[in-house]
Structure formats: structure tokens, C-alpha cells
């Protein structure tokens, strides 16, 4: 069944929506912690190199794949891989581009609801208030207990969280709000929200930066100490491969590469649309939010109030502790702190919701494009799945971390590698069929590696509003895939062995859930293809 696909209303709306997808909690919470932990200013050298060698090329790949699919009536990697590979297995690999964002949004929406709770409690001034004492652990304890109370961590059970009713209600409000935006559609829902939320995010962030830059601690520290902690370089860190991988990882997460969400957004482009300039603009907006705004709020404020050792202690306990414990603790001790706390968490909420709606859209596109479902029916199915599945991270201790590691971290690097291989090395194969005839396997591989990227380059530059420098041809074709392979190998060696056996039964439950979602995805793809092309095609 061919149905009329939606389109973006305006170019600026599209760029804000894609930038909104990328700008999330990570820009304001993860980036400053990563930078400060990995050599401060020196971290920015590998970070900027990764942005150019990995970030921009991969963003272009997702945009170009999305436009390619959209022109053929499809908005997910399932159909795009099938169209390009022309192999029965391709669509099952492409399903990662639907399942990764779907599983991530299961726990992301829940975390997003915490920011709404915090924002609300700051608005009614119902957050802890403690005088600044010398011992940081004692000072932060009420804020730690507050967070523990919200997520229900203080029940004494090793297996279950017991969140209070208001946490559950705020989660339901957040989920329903997300689903309503998705239900309104691409232009009337997602684009409208992006046009409203993105300027607000920037205004709120600038107000907070100004407030942080005018803070001084009782013992005389000011914003220059905070900026010094973040930016003063430690050149010895450059020799450490971990720093380079941390920088590459941060670029990956901040630009939302490998989720499949950019691909879906780009599939709603109008005919004859550029992807080169759109991709660069959306990446640039994200970097503005991360490097300039994200780097100037949480860590700077924390260094001013708690000093370097205190900030390192807070950051070492997790990226969330800086945003959910240290900042409320600081706001509790400044004039109009409740107002600034409200702004901070509302900023995080808007950053979160513009990302979560993007993560939901690939599943919507899959149900609409491949099953021909109406939008309201697709929203009902998606809503039911998300409501039921969300109980895993809400109630099971450790499940959120397990889902985040396997799906929100590991799977996206693998999927990004498939995306780049599909676009750079497989897209051009049909045009090389004459050259490939009667050649040995080794010769075929050599011909594909040498000539296929030329077709990807043409596809990327089709209708382009900027001339992409030729050096990116080589970066896209060879350096970016190699970079991804190095990241994966490094993780296989350093991180995976310690993660094979989960510490907890809930880790196994989370893994079973991932397996269940994957099987469900495979069955749905198989049914959809049988429905469209008959049994032989699957």
C-alpha cells in the first residue's frame, strides 16, 4: 500500500528538529564531565578532530540515506538497507535503526520525567535546603536522598525500586506528552515543538550561563576557576588512547549518530532537498549548545562552589550527579535559587523531549510506511509498547544501565558502521556490475573499495547547497569506517569482557527484554515483507 508521506514545513523547522534530536541531556551533563576527566582543554583537540573525521561525515551519511529512502516512500533503515543491498538479510540488519531508538526511549522518557519533577519541585520551592558546610558528602546528602526518594532507591531492596506515586504520574504525563506530539505529526507536532523549544533552550541556557559567570564562592572562587578546570590543557592526556576514544564517543552520542533517528527525519525532506548544508547546520547548532553553553553551566558552577576536588568527586559518582545533585545544592544557596533551579530542569526537560520524540519517530515511520497504519493507530501501538516496557527501568534496579550499555552505547556504534558501509561501499555496486563480472573475489573487493565511494559522493552532493571539500570524500570513504572499527575493537578488548556477566538478575531480565524486542522486530519485518511482496521475498 502506498500512502502519502508527510514533509517538513520549513527548512529552519527541519534543522531545529534535527538539532533538537541531537541536543539532549548529554550536551549539558555528559560533555563537561568527559572534558574535565580527560585533560580539560587538551580533550578538545581529539574532540574537534573526531567531530571532523567522524561526526560530520556520519551525520551526512544518515541524512543522505534518509533522503534516499524518503524519495522511495520509506523512512527507516529497514527498507533503506533492503533497497540498497538487495539482499534478504539487509532488512533484518536495518531493523537496528528502529529498535535502537525504541529501546533507548524506553528509559530516556523516564529520565526525562525526572527533569520535569525537579522543575516542578523547584517551582513550588519544595527542594532540600542546607547551609554550606565544609564536608561535601554531608552537604550533598539531603540532595542525594531527594533523588533517591524520587526514583525509590531507598526501599532497602536489592531488586526493586519503589518510586512514589508522583514519580509514576510525572512519568505518565511525560510519556503522554511525547505521544501527543508524535500523534500531531512531523510538521504540526515535531517541527512546531522544535521551533518553540529550541529558542527557549538557548534563552534559558544563556540566562544560566550569565548567572553562573556572576557567582562567587564564600572563599573567593569565581567562573575563571570553573573555566580553568574545563579548559586548561593537560597535554600528557593526549598520549592516552582512552582520551581519544572518550572524545570520539562523546561526538557519537552528542550528534545522535547511529540511532537511525536522523535517517528517519531526513526521509521527510521535500523533493530536491539539500542534505550537505542541512547536516552541517544541525551539527553546528548542536556543538554550540554543547561546547559553548553545556561547557559553561554545570561544571563551572560546581567548581565555584565545591572546588576541583569536590567536583571531581561528584563527577566520578556519575554524570547525572552533577546535574541532579550538585546544581540543586548550589541553587539552594543563591538568591532566587528556586527560580534558577526551575530554569535548569526545564531546560533539561525541553532538551530531553526534543530528543525523545525523535527517538520515537523511526518506530512510527516503520508502522506507517511498512504496514500502512494510520498515525493514530501507530501511536496507540507505540504508546502501549512504551508504557508496558518502561516498567523495567522504573522498577528494576540496574536495568536502566544494562539497556544503556548494550543498546544506547554498543549497538549504535555497530549500526553506524553498517550505515557507513551501506552508503559508501554498497550503494554503488549495481553501477559496477559490468566491472565486477568474471572477477575473483579479491578483485571484486578491490574494485568496490576503489570505485563505489564515488557513487556515494555523488548521492551526498545531489542538490547540495554547499560544495563539500574533496578531502571529505576520503574521510567518508576510508577514515570514518576505520575510526569506527578501531572504536569497536577497543571496546571489545577493554570494556566488553567485564560486561559479559551481569552483576544482578535484573541485568539478565534487561537482556531478555532486548532479545524479545529484537525477535518482535524480526517477526514484524518478515510479516510486513510477506504482506507486500509475498512469501518468497523474506
Amino acid at each position: 500500500m502506498v500512502h502519502k508521506r508527510e514533509q517538513w514545513g520549513t527548512r529552519i523547522g527541519l534543522i531545529l528538529a534535527v538539532a533538537g534530536n541531537a541536543i539532549g541531556l548529554g550536551n549539558f551533563l555528559r560533555f563537561p564531565v568527559q572534558a574535565a576527566d580527560n585533560g580539560g582543554g587538551a580533550f578538545m583537540i581529539p574532540y574537534m578532530i573526531s567531530f571532523i573525521l567522524l561526526g560530520i561525515p556520519l551525520i551526512w551519511v544518515e541524512w543522505a540515506l534518509g533522503r534516499y529512502g524518503g524519495e522511495r516512500g520509506h523512512g527507516t533503515a529497514v527498507a533503506v538497507f533492503d533497497l540498497i543491498w538487495r539482499h534478504p538479510l539487509a532488512k533484518y540488519i536495518g531493523i537496528f535503526g528502529v529498535l535502537i531508538p525504541l529501546v533507548v526511549v524506553v528509559y530516556y522518557t523516564y529520565i526525562e520525567s525526572w527533569t520535569l519533577i525537579y522543575s516542578f519541585f523547584h517551582l513550588i520551592n519544595e527542594v532540600p535546603s542546607t547551609p554550606l558546610t565544609a564536608d561535601i558528602k554531608d552537604y550533598l546528602k539531603p540532595f542525594n536522598d531527594f533523588l533517591g526518594g524520587i526514583i525509590g532507591a531507598s526501599s532497602g531492596s536489592d531488586i526493586f525500586f519503589t518510586p512514589p506515586l508522583e514519580t509514576y504520574l510525572f512519568f505518565l504525563v511525560t510519556l503522554l506528552l511525547n505521544l501527543y506530539i508524535i500523534y500531531r505529526g512531523v510538521s504540526a507536532g515535531i517541527e512546531k515543538v522544535a521551533k518553540f523549544a529550541m529558542p527557549l533552550i538557548f534563552i534559558m541556557a544563556i540566562i544560566l550561563v550569565i548567572r553562573v559567570f556572576t557567582l562567587t564562592s564564600p572563599d573567593g572562587r569565581n567562573f575563571l576557576d570553573g573555566l580553568g578546570f574545563l579548559w586548561n590543557p593537560d597535554f600528557s592526556a593526549l598520549k592516552d588512547p582512552k582520551v581519544w576514544l572518550a572524545a570520539a564517543g562523546q561526538i557519537f552520542f552528542t550528534l545522535s549518530i547511529g540511532f537511525g533517528a536522523i535517517l528517519t527525519y531526513a526521509s521527510y525532506l521535500k523533493p530536491k532537498s539539500d542534505v550537505a548544508l542541512n547536516g552541517l547546520a544541525s551539527a553546528s547548532v548542536n556543538e554550540f549548545a554543547e561546547v559553548i553553553l553545556g561547557g559553561s553551566i554545570a561544571i563551572t558552577a560546581s567548581v565555584i562552589f565545591f572546588g576541583i576536588a569536590g567536583t571531581q568527586y561528584i563527577a566520578s559518582e556519575g554524570a547525572f550527579n552533577l546535574g541532579f545533585m550538585a546544581l540543586p545544592a548550589i541553587f539552594a544557596n543563591i538568591p532566587y535559587g528556586a527560580f534558577f533551579g526551575f530554569l535548569w530542569f526545564l531546560l533539561l526537560f525541553f532538551a530531553g523531549i526534543t530528543s525523545s520524540i525523535a527517538l520515537m519517530q523511526p518506530a512510527m515511520a516503520f508502522l506507517e510506511d511498512e504496514f500502512g497504519l494510520s498515525r493514530d493507530r501507530a501511536v496507540k501501538y507505540l504508546g502501549a509498547f512504551l508504557f508496558v516496557s518502561s516498567h523495567i527501568p522504573i522498577f528494576l534496579k540496574g536495568a536502566l544501565d544494562e539497556l544503556d550499555f548494550w543498546v544506547g552505547t554498543f549497538a549504535l556504534v555497530i549500526f553506524a558502521l553498517f550505515e557507513v558501509i551501506t552508503f559508501v561501499w554498497i550503494l554503488g555496486i549495481p553501477q559496477l556490475s559490468e566491472k565486477l563480472q568474471e572477477k575473483s573475489l579479491l578483485s571484486k573487493i578491490f574494485i568496490v573499495l576503489k570505485h563505489s565511494p564515488e557513487y556515494a559522493w555523488k548521492e551526498l552532493n545531489r542538490y547540495a547547497d554547499i560544495k563539500i571539500p574533496r578531502i571529505f570524500y576520503y574521510i567518508l570513504s576510508y577514515i570514518a569506517p576505520l575510526f569506527l572499527i578501531v572504536i569497536l575493537l577497543w571496546w571489545f578488548v577493554t570494556t566488553l569482557p567485564a560486561k559479559f556477566i551481569p552483576e544482578h538478575i535484573n541485568g539478565w531480565i534487561a537482556r531478555l527484554f532486548i532479545l524479545f524486542v529484537f525477535i518482535l522486530g524480526v517477526v514484524l519485518v518478515k510479516k510486513s515483507w510477506e504482506r507486500k511482496y509475498g512469501r518468497t521475498s523474506s
Binding site: R11, I12, I15, G40, G41, A42, M44, M48, D219, G220, R221, L224, D225, L227, G228, F229, W231, N232, P233, D274, L277, L280, A281, A283, S284, V285, E287, F288, V291, I292, V303, G307, I308, A309, D465, I466
Partner: protein, 40 residues
Amino acid sequence: MEGHLLNSYGALFMAVSWGIVLTLNIYSFYKILYNNKKNK
């Protein structure tokens, strides 16, 4: 007092990084506006 004031290297790194990000934003949005105007 524990301090770690922004030093000249830090200021340089910050200025270069902010400069790259701002330049990319200005360039891409200038191009978008230019193309929009041209298409009209």
C-alpha cells in the same frame, strides 16, 4: 583556597574551540539564508 584559574593556554583552547563552533554556525546559517533569498 583551592584555585585553578583559567591560564593563557586554557583561554587559547577555549577561544579556538568557541571560534570554530561559532564560525560553523555563522557559515551554515549565512548559506541557508543566502540560498533561501536566491530561491525566492
